[in-house]
């Protein structure tokens, strides 16, 4: 394994030294491609780029692979009980399956071992500079990129290398999105974001308010139900809580079976509504609001346990928190609750602090890039973002195909420039396209995709690229 201490940096004598716009020296890495991040999306980018014959330098700020799935990493959001919410066949890399004797919904430690095996099997670690973070990525002449790096934590000098292309795979589940409630600063209880939640011991015997009905929020609420003295679960609106199993098989596999049978969305929605109605029943009798959307319209919340603990009375559903007082929290319906611990499971926001937002087409700086296929950047044919998707399946297969498409595109730039130019025109024309049905708006839902819609669009792009 390469570590920050034994960096075999490109020898300046062998790689031409150049100056960048600010007059700093730049070592030219020729046709090498830079990958930012060695999480699942970064690893699959390295694998597919090397498979297509490219040299790759990957920069990883941590000391191991796996990104968010590596619990040793300080930015990893996994907690002790994190299990997958999409089942194995819909989560694994399409060309490197997980062991078939693993459970349907593996534990996060299994996922890390899977990613480590992926890295070893395809010999990816030799491309990764661990303990190195990317400070700046700037466009250079000829669609090339100047990537400035330094040791994680800001130690040591900065170095700039010039690359033929860049894949941004820095993940989108590490920068917590914190709510801005009135009076939060005066609140005397403990407040934490779900990213720092690790272990149910943190909840034991305390009165806990969990804010947010994403998958993490529901997981923590279900754990609080078992450990805490009392648990309030605050949600802004009504949701569909899909169980992990439906009709004897993982629910996402059932959905894909219906997709394979070409059932239209409306019919699938109707079927799922019926199935939930007959198995789980009407959730409003527990005091939950009626869902204001149809199933398959937002990122699925997959949790079999929450409803169970609602039925045990171990979780009290409450509406949105509006105001914090020193010793209580005021809710939207005027009620007040007095938790000792508030866990904000309010999600994460994607961040690309090393890139000028304008490059990604995010002119307003709203953190919302305009990309095609959530990956390709208008006017920057040698830049791609991998894994910026929130699918109703695992992210790995989507990242895999994104990087395959990008690798083939880079090849075509040399062999058939006209094809690559046509692709670039498509990227510009169709940036911002969505790959899901009608989706509820929020700061995060814009990159939500339906895996079938998305992969179909990607497959079409791949075929167009290969066409004669």
């Amino acid at each position: 394994m390469t570590t920050s201490t034994d960096h075999g940096w490109p020898d300046p004598a062998s790689s031409a030294l150049d100056l960048n716009r600010d007059g700093r020296s730049v070592s030219d890495r020729g046709e090498t491609v830079c990958v930012i991040g060695a999480g699942p999306s970064g690893l699959t980018a390295i694998k597919n780029l090397t498979e297509h014959g490219f040299g790759v330098d990957c920069y990883e700020r941590e000391t191991g692979v796996g990104g968010v799935w590596n619990w040793r990493h300080d930015r990893s959001p996994v907690y002790a009980s994190t299990h997958l919410i999409s089942s194995r066949p819909l989560t694994q890399f399409p060309d490197f399956p997980m062991p078939d004797d693993w459970p349907d919904y593996p534990h996060h430690s299994q996922l890390l071992s899977y990613l480590e095996r992926y890295a070893d099997h395809f010999d990816l670690r030799r491309h990764v500079w661990f303990g190195t973070e990317v400070v700046r990525v700037e466009p250079a002449d000829g669609d090339r990129w100047d990537v400035t790096t330094r040791s994680t934590g800001g130690y040591g000098p900065e170095r700039t290398s010039r690359y033929a292309a860049v894949v941004v795979a820095n993940g989108h589940n590490w920068s917590p999105k914190l709510p801005n409630h009135e009076g939060l600063a005066e609140f005397r209880g403990e407040v934490m974001h779900a990213s720092s939640y690790q272990d149910p011991a943190q909840l034991r015997g305390r009165r806990v308010l969990v804010v947010g009905a994403g998958n993490t929020g529901c997981d923590i609420a279900a754990e609080a139900a078992q450990q805490a003295a009392h648990c309030w679960h605050s949600t802004r609106r009504g949701y569909w809580y899909a169980p992990k199993y439906l009709l004897g098989r993982p629910a996402d596999q059932l959905n894909d079976l219906l997709l394979a049978l070409r059932l239209p969305r409306r019919l699938r929605q109707w079927l799922f509504h019926r199935l939930l109605r007959v198995s789980v029943g009407d959730l409003t009798r527990f005091g939950l609001p009626q869902p204001d959307h149809r199933m398959l319209e937002t990122h699925p919340i997959v949790n079999s346990q929450l409803v169970y603990y609602l039925g045990h009375g171990r979780v009290t559903p409450v509406p949105d928190a509006v105001r914090f007082h020193p010793d209580s929290v005021e809710l939207a319906d005027g009620r007040k609750v007095d938790p000792e611990l508030v866990v904000f499971a309010t999600g994460y926001l994607p961040r690309f602090e090393f890139l000028d937002p304008k490059i990604l087409g995010d002119d307003g700086g709203a953190g919302r890039p305009a990309l095609w296929l959530n990956a390709f950047v208008p006017n920057h044919p040698t830049l791609a973002v991998a894994g910026l998707v929130q699918p109703d399946s695992g992210i790995f297969p989507l990242s895999h195909w994104q990087s395959v498409l990008f690798a083939r595109l880079l090849r075509l730039r040399e062999t058939r420039p006209s094809k690559a130019a046509a692709f670039a025109a498509t990227v510009t024309a169709r940036a911002g396209e969505r790959y899901a049905g009608p989706v509820k708006e929020s700061s995060r839902h814009w990159f939500e995709v339906g895996h079938a819609d998305y992969l179909r669009a990607l497959q079409r792009a791949l075929h167009d690229l290969e066409a004669k």
Binding site: E51, R88, P89, L90, P94, D95, F96, P97, P99, D100, D101, R117, D120, H121, F122, D123, Q253, L254, D256, L257, L259, A260, W401, V404, A452, L455, R456, L458, Q459, L462, H463, E466
Partner: protein
């Protein structure tokens, strides 16, 4: 091989293949020289034993680690009467992905077709197709002509029996041939059927180099079929005259395996 990449496999995702106990015989050299591991996939009726006989040991002597798999329902692997070609390919990919490094897939007979299917689901370092049976009507007609009594039942879902003359050359001692024949099992009915009418393998992922070899005297795979199989991968077959279908068991087993290992050592992207 003109088909396009397949991204969506809804049916495979929705109905994953069930796990079955898999027999894997392995032979690993004492000193790891970084060579790619070989994964041997037997054809119908055969098991991992067919490679353990000679080829595994020989590969180790030359510094390659070798693994031989028994497909589900065959030899020491768990029973699977309803197995399909897809399930067989699943077994191959599972074992390959479990190896420490990218593997070279070596398929024999119908196992070569299984390997061809697996290549669409696993970016192998390289692939070797030994006397490949790619199925279709031609295979059935050839087998019927050579061994009508053994083949006819298989066409109606019964057991396929191979004769000594089909599998081995004249030089293999009679009792050794009898010993091998007695170990032959039967493949799953559905897989047998798919061999005749199944779908063409999808294009290989990761563009692996492919070597095809066989014998001009093979009574199961005619020379034209060998050429056709090799052409799929834009190459020509390597021929070993005087041998039967079971190149890894026949008297001259040493030559083909040496040729495979030589090829792997020379092939730049395979080594």
């Amino acid at each position: 091989m003109s088909q396009q990449v397949r991204v969506i496999r809804g049916r495979e995702w929705a109905r994953p293949v069930r796990p079955v106990r898999r027999e894997v015989l392995e032979a690993v050299p004492g000193l790891d020289e970084g060579r790619p591991p070989l994964l041997f996939v037997p054809g119908f009726g055969h098991g991992a034993w067919a490679f353990a006989e000679h080829w595994l040991g020989h590969a180790v002597e030359r510094g390659f680690s070798g693994y031989a798999l028994s497909l589900r329902g065959q030899s020491g692997s768990g029973p699977a009467p309803e197995a399909t070609l897809g399930a067989y390919a699943h077994d191959v990919v599972q074992v390959a992905a479990g190896l420490p490094r990218r593997a070279v897939l070596v398929g024999h007979g119908a196992g070569a077709l299984v390997v061809a299917h697996a290549l669409a689901r696993y970016p192998a370092r390289a692939a070797v197709l030994v006397a490949p049976v790619f199925g279709g009507w031609a295979t059935a007609v050839t087998a019927l002509r050579r061994n009508p009594l053994g083949t006819l039942p298989a066409l109606v879902g019964g057991r396929l029996r191979c004769s000594r003359a089909q599998l081995f050359g004249p030089e293999l001692p009679r009792d050794e041939a009898r010993r091998h024949l007695s170990r032959l099992g039967r493949p799953a009915r559905r897989a047998q059927w798919q061999l005749l009418f199944g779908r063409e393998p999808e294009p290989a992922v990761g563009d692996p180099p492919v070597l095809v070899l066989g014998s001009p005297e093979d009574r199961i795979v005619p020379r034209s079929a060998l050429t056709r199989a090799a052409r799929r991968y834009a190459s020509a077959p390597l021929l070993f005259p005087g041998m039967g279908h079971d190149l890894m068991l026949d008297a001259g087993w040493r030559e083909p395996i040496d040729a495979i290992l030589d090829w792997l050592e020379k092939e730049p992207s395979a080594g």
